[in-house]
């Protein structure tokens, strides 16, 4: 075997294998694949749902699984599959929105605290720690008490739960990056704080926050579902997986499918986000800062 031939060996792996190797593991690849499918399903809900999610059919009340209604129908004869598709779309949007809001709020706080330290850190982290001193769901419920239940309030409440978590994570990783030679080098070259943060600190410290954010996306779906289940999140007629679980629980004995499928949708999404999070952790968070 010539030297060239042996060097060419690793390139013979299949494209799927190579992709898996780049992503870290088969589990990460599986998580990404599930997320891709779920994302597509959510985006295409109006196109692919077999029936209208609102169409009431008195002849199909609590009917089981069939070809025309693969997930059965609920107490009003509505198609459970179509409802799961629309509810998933709406719940996923709330979760992603909440995490995006939390990143926008948490990253600047964490970066500023970690980079400058001292009294800035002491003052800014006080309220952050204060928020962490309340059980998450209780914090959400307190905000809902104030602003009343609703979709936007639920999203905002989840974001408020997540801001301190993300701020803490990014602060820790900025603390680790701050003392690196390239940061000192940038400062020594006369770069301003702002440009040092933007060009050197944030790109090198953002990894653990992204890992954390991907895991939190999944759990946001759980929190939204819990709030809506309690009647304190999304209000009907806006579709939501939590509301479906509540309706399904009322008819649990006669029509378990109305409860099982929305729950499975949540569990599958959380699994996918967790798998992706674990894979990203191996690549982006070698110090294990994200929880």
């Amino acid at each position: 075997m010539t030297l060239e031939a042996s060097a060419a060996l690793p390139r013979r792996r299949s494209p799927a294998r190579r992709l898996a190797a780049r992503l870290g593991s088969r589990e990460t690849a599986a998580g990404l694949a599930i997320l891709a499918v779920l994302g597509l399903v959510a985006a295409l809900a109006p196109v692919i749902s077999p029936h209208s999610p609102e169409a009431i059919d008195a002849n199909r009340v609590l009917k089981g699984l069939s070809w025309s209604h693969p997930f059965g129908s609920d107490a009003l004869g509505r198609d459970v599959l179509s409802r799961v598709l629309f509810a998933f779309r709406s719940s996923l949007l709330i979760s992603l929105g909440a995490v995006a809001l939390a990143l926008v709020g948490g990253i600047p706080i964490g970066v500023v605290c970690g980079y400058f330290g001292g009294w800035v850190d002491a003052i800014l982290m006080r309220p952050v720690d204060m928020l962490l001193a309340l059980p998450a769901l209780l914090l959400a419920l307190s905000l809902i008490t104030v602003f009343g239940p609703g979709r936007l309030v639920a999203m905002f409440a989840i974001a408020v739960i997540y801001v301190p978590i993300l701020a803490r994570v990014i602060r820790s990783s900025v603390l680790a990056v701050r003392t690196e030679a390239y940061v000192e080098g940038a400062r020594a070259r006369g770069a301003s704080h702002l440009s040092t943060i933007a060009r050197h600190v944030v790109p090198n410290a953002i990894g653990p926050a992204l890992v954390q954010a991907s895991v939190l996306c999944g759990f946001a779906l759980q929190i939204e579902a819990a709030l809506s289940f309690l009647g304190l999140g999304v209000q009907p007629p806006t579709p939501s997986l939590g509301l479906m679980l509540f309706d399904g629980y009322q008819v649990l004995q006669q029509a378990p499918w109305a409860d099982v499928f929305p729950g499975l949708a949540i569990a599958l999404t959380v699994v996918a986000f967790n798998l992706v999070g674990d894979g990203l952790r191996a690549r982006l968070d070698p110090l294990g800062i994200a929880r």
């Binding site: 204060m130 001193a133 059980p135 419920l141 104030v146 289940f229 679980l245 378990p256 599958l268 967790n274």
Partner: protein, 318 residues
Amino acid sequence: MTPRARFVLGRVALTVPTLFAMSVFVFLIIHLVPGDPVRTMLGFRATPENVRTIRASLGLDRPLADQYLSWIGGVFRGDLGEDYISHARLSTLIGQRLPVTLELTLLSMALAIVVGVPLGVLSAAGGRARRLAAHAFTIGGISIPDFWLGTLLVLVFAAKLNWLPPTGWASLARHPFANLRDVTLPVLTLATGEAAYILRTTRASMQETLGRPFVTFLRAKGLPERSIVYPHALRTASLPIVTVAGIQFGVLLGGAIVVEVIFGLPGLGKLIVTSINQRNYPVVQGSVLVVATLFIVVNLATDVAYGWLNPRLGAARE
């Protein structure tokens, strides 16, 4: 003062401002309601006379600082105010419901530890099969929403098999056996996800510990693996487990809220949800204050336990 005592005192001192800030937050709940909270509370019953009476009885017509001081003063005397709908004393109302929530969370945490720690230890040392089993249990336990698991348990054990009641509650003091029966499904619901977290933490921490030089030394000394794992390695590996258990206590308190609603348990969570729906702000404030205080105190206890268990703390400074 020993370093350990200094650590404990320091943590206690840090808890005081946290408790203060939390109490201000809870106090402000009613004041942050957009518009007039009393009109919102009363809804269609908001005649000018009613509004005036309720506002005066809640003290909302007085200056803010005044209100806070008299409220927090009452709290210190054990008086949380009164439910403006039923006129029951909040201390009585919450006093009746707190034991239910506490029983639920403590039993769930205990079950999660009893299941999660040994499984975590076993999976840390095992081969591929154990690793996969641990991974599947962890991902499954974490991903399944606890209240959905609750509904599935009701479906299987109450509706189909008829082994356990789907809802209901017998008091622990008066009917201990009936209580055990009623608490089984709620505790299983809460403990499953919790056990997954404990398992994951135990496993990671044990793996790290089993690779340390002192374990290699014990093995070289000829100790059987059994006498290494539990007495030596688990003790060292227990620090992160204690921390996670403390953090997760808050998650359990939150989970208890939904689980109480599903199983119809007369706990604080159910009280909070009902009161939010009735816009019964004083009850929400009182209950949130009690649960949050509990959580902060448990966190303090966790930190203190951490300091106690950590031989490095202090040793380095001594």
